[in-house]
């Protein structure tokens, strides 16, 4: 079998860099000699794939049987409290208003509560056992209670970063160091995207129900990976992408000629400079041309029946709400987009947590449940991995009428792609302060390893060489949480 162009490309990249390193350290004469072969455009051209052609991924054969084809990450930005959502703590309710036991907090790093008097705070909201499985879900989420048997709740999540931006970076890239690729970029690099007329990694935003912390664009950056793998934010209000129409007097064939000519010039430039970012530029021109037809079709939600809008609780499609974004996520999933990330900024409840949670739940509960039901009735939940959760949890100690950031315990749920629905995985101590080290604890690295495993990828084998060493999404960590697979 002939070598796939993706592999050849990688070989070329790494060869080029090692030669470059070599050149830097060699005598000029030797360097000049090597220059001849390095810059011979025919050598480069032969091994490089046509940048305008579809990227089919660096992983040509899966390491395990793949279940997932795409991810929808419902990122509850700001840090939802696990104590009011998926992790009921009766003992904490009993301790409400009393000093928080020091044995839990001595020597621990806290965010804004550091050095303050610590008072236990119980949950103001009740929990119910839901579905056949009897999973506990907060009464804040009457709709999510109806999908209890489809979702696997992980209560033993923990992370390493206590502030929003680094914690999001940690959740997306497994590191807080800038320049690392996010998980969506890793997936595109590894598997490519099914869609060739839409970006393979798309980000949508909504807000409401609490302090809306800013989300930096580094969260969907491709880091050291070629930038064709980065996430592309779409507008959630109005047109998802602006200016996709041709200016007056320009028809599609003129446009085609223009793109072809620009690509030809870029190709010349690429052969001279060998900068892989020019490949990205060529690929993006081609993609943008295709998006001139694909995006208007995508954005036209008029073909969605009233019953579907009703299911998601959408007042007006494209109104910037989380509900509208969820429907858009499903439409993107159907069109072969690999990684879809929805940020809802509204979970940072330092104060008035009860009011805030009521408000944010009204915005996200129904659409989250609707997305699962809609995917399921289309048979897509079998190959779509849905991840719901924030960047960290919140303290069992009150902060006035709210709660502070908390990294030792938080809850997320996963659904679809072979994840066992109706399962509650992992636990926290009786006050919800820290995950239990009972073999079911899940670190962010473990979550990443598990996510890659649903795609049939061994997380230790998806690597990229940068600055002289092989990197991976889980770096040197990560264990696949095998117990949550059905």
């Amino acid at each position: 079998m002939s070598e796939p162009p993706e592999i050849a490309w990688l070989r070329q990249q790494q060869l080029g860099w090692s030669r470059r390193t070599f050149l830097g350290k060699s005598a000029q004469a030797l360097g000049a000699l090597a220059m001849g072969s390095l810059f011979n455009p025919r050598i480069f051209g032969a091994a490089s794939p046509d940048p305008a052609e579809k990227w089919r991924g660096i992983i040509q054969t899966p390491h395990f049987l793949p279940r997932a084809k795409r991810v929808i990450h419902l990122c509850m930005a700001g840090g939802p409290s696990h104590l009011e959502t998926f992790d009921p703590k009766p003992v904490l309710n009993r301790l409400h208003g009393q000093p928080f036991p020091e044995s839990f907090t001595a020597g621990e790093q806290l965010a804004q509560l550091q050095g303050k008097e610590l008072i236990a705070r119980g949950s103001s909201f009740g929990f119910s056992r839901c579905g056949q499985s009897g999973q506990w879900i907060s009464d804040l989420f009457p709709h999510m209670q109806t999908i209890a048997d489809d979702i696997c709740i992980i209560r033993s999540m923990h992370t390493e970063q206590i502030n929003h931006d680094p914690a999001h970076a940690f959740m997306n890239t497994g590191s807080i160091i800038k320049g690392r690729p996010s998980m969506g970029s890793w997936l595109l690099y590894g598997l490519g995207s099914e869609a060739d007329d839409l970006p393979g990694y798309i980000v949508l935003m909504s807000e409401g129900g609490g302090q809306a912390q800013p989300i930096s664009s580094r969260q969907w950056s491709s880091g050291f990976l070629p930038s064709r793998f980065q996430g592309v934010p779409f507008y959630s209000r109005g047109d998802p992408v602006h200016y996709v129409g041709n200016p007056e007097g320009v028809c599609q064939s003129t446009q085609r000629q223009l793109i072809d000519e620009i690509s030809r010039l870029n190709q010349l430039h690429l052969e001279e400079s060998l900068d892989p970012e020019i490949q990205t530029r060529i690929a993006q021109y081609e993609l943008a041309f295709k998006m001139q037809t694909s995006v208007p079709e995508l954005a036209d939600m008029g073909d969605e029946p009233e019953s579907i809008r009703e299911l998601y609780g959408i007042e007006e499609p494209g109104d910037g709400s989380f509900a509208s974004n969820c429907l858009m996520a499903r439409r993107l999933a159907e069109r072969g987009v690999r990684f879809i990330q929805l940020y809802h900024r509204g979970w940072d409840h330092h104060g008035n947590i009860d009011g805030g949670l009521r408000e944010v739940s009204k915005l996200i509960d129904r659409p989250s449940a609707a997305l699962i039901k809609d995917l399921k009735q289309r048979g897509m939940l079998e190959d779509t991995l849905v991840l719901w959760g924030g960047e960290f949890g919140r303290t069992p100690m009150g902060q006035g009428s709210g709660r502070d950031h908390h990294i030792n315990a938080f809850s997320v749920w996963m659904a679809g792609a072979g994840i066992r629905g109706g399962l509650t995985w992992g636990s926290t101590d009786e006050l919800g302060y820290k995950y239990l080290n009972d073999g079911q604890q899940v670190h962010v690295h473990d979550l990443h390893a598990t996510m890659l495993a649903t795609f049939g990828i061994d997380h230790t084998k998806l690597t990229y060489r940068s600055q002289g060493r092989d990197f991976r999404l889980t770096d040197v960590h990560g264990h696949v949480v095998k117990g949550i697979f059905s």
């Binding site: 079998m1 002939s2 409400h96 208003g97 119980g122 949950s123 103001s124 009860d354 009735q377 048979g379």
Partner: protein, 494 residues
Amino acid sequence: MDTFVTQLGRLHPLLVHLPIGSIFLLVAFEIYFRFRKESHSGFESQSGAAIRTFILILSTTVAILSAGFGWLLSQEGGYETNLLSQHQFFGFAVAGLSLLLLLIHLAKWKRAYLPVLAVVTLTLVLAGHFGGSLTHGSDYLDIWFSGDSADPVAEAVAAEPDPAKVLVFEDAIQPLLETRCLSCHGPEKSKGDLRLDSIEAIQRGGKEGPSIMARNPSESPLIQRILLPITEKKHMPPKGKPQLTDAEVALFEWWVQNHAHQSIRIADAHPPPTVETYLSGLFPSLETPVPDREEILEAANTIARQLNISIRPLSAREPWLEVSARLRSTEFGDSELAQLAPIAPAIQRLDLGTTAVTDKGLMHLKSMEQLRQLQLDRTGISDAAMENIAVLPRLEYLNIFNTEITDEGILALTPLTELRSLYAWNTRISPEAVQALSEQLVDQRMIARWQADIDELQRRIENERFSANLGESLPTGLEIPEAEPLPEAAKEEE
């Protein structure tokens, strides 16, 4: 008749061996002393006569007892009458002639002694032969003499290697019945009036009525008896006899469910994987060869680029593929589907959702014997497409949402025994039809049986639980907690 007396009849198989032994001992005794003519211990001596008397009295007694018990046993019935009457005749003859021989010996009528002994011996051999035929089948010795592995199944294979001609009943079921069942339920001995030596006899059944109900294994006594726990008295084959393996049981169940009403070639019968593994073990020529991975991937690469569809391998070692034409939408139709032919045997997942394939075009699915997942949502297919889908023996997942399929269509899917997920939102299929299909596909009794097994295992685990108590003192510092203070917000609400 009194059951105790009837039960005594069952001692017959034990007793019969005593006269055989003692009469042959007498024959050996006669021959030995014919050649060792020593006067004091020889044939003519006093002690010789005493030994002969002793053996003869013993033989006569046990022969008469055996004949009597044998008659009691015959009253139970279930034996082939012709063989039985022959065995009975010679059995009584042995008893009678032994008595006669004893009298001749006591009367010292030397001239008659040896000829009568010869007749007794011959009669004994004949009685033994017919008795053996009754219990082991009349062809028991034939098989033994053929010197083969005594495995009629293997013989059937050797005799019928052409995979195109191998039949389900004649070549797979019948040889099994011959080795496992016919010794009691055959032409010679038909316990419970049941014979299993032909399909007609099986359908006719025995005392309990027909032994199989086609398409309904759980109501078929044959299957019920096989599935009973071995500790049950009614379990078949009886405890102590060679048992059926799990694969053989699965074969019987599958046969009754799908093919008991017809004669069908294995090649056309679409067995489920467990049965198929068993059958291809029996008939290696039936096994479909695994396609060569390198060739398949090479072809897949070309086809993927030609048709601009996504084809991905599913494993690093095996040739299985996942093919998706969904994003080509209506540009992908029947002729494109036909072009998948070179890789068809390797396709396990096929996504044809939103494409322009038609009922007729789906005949190209036929060669995709490995297919497990099939998406046909939002296509123009109708009920007529289902006959092309019903032939996919391994199909586990079928998505037909937003199509015109009706109840009639999905009821045609009953041959898909492996089908576990059906997505049929926005079709004209009623919940009743889905219910009916699920009852056809999944044997609820089987699930109930597994549940019972789980309960039994649970009980055993409980039984094995060990706990020791070394006494315990109450920990200090435990106080009765304050009455529960309600969280503030909840108080406000009240």
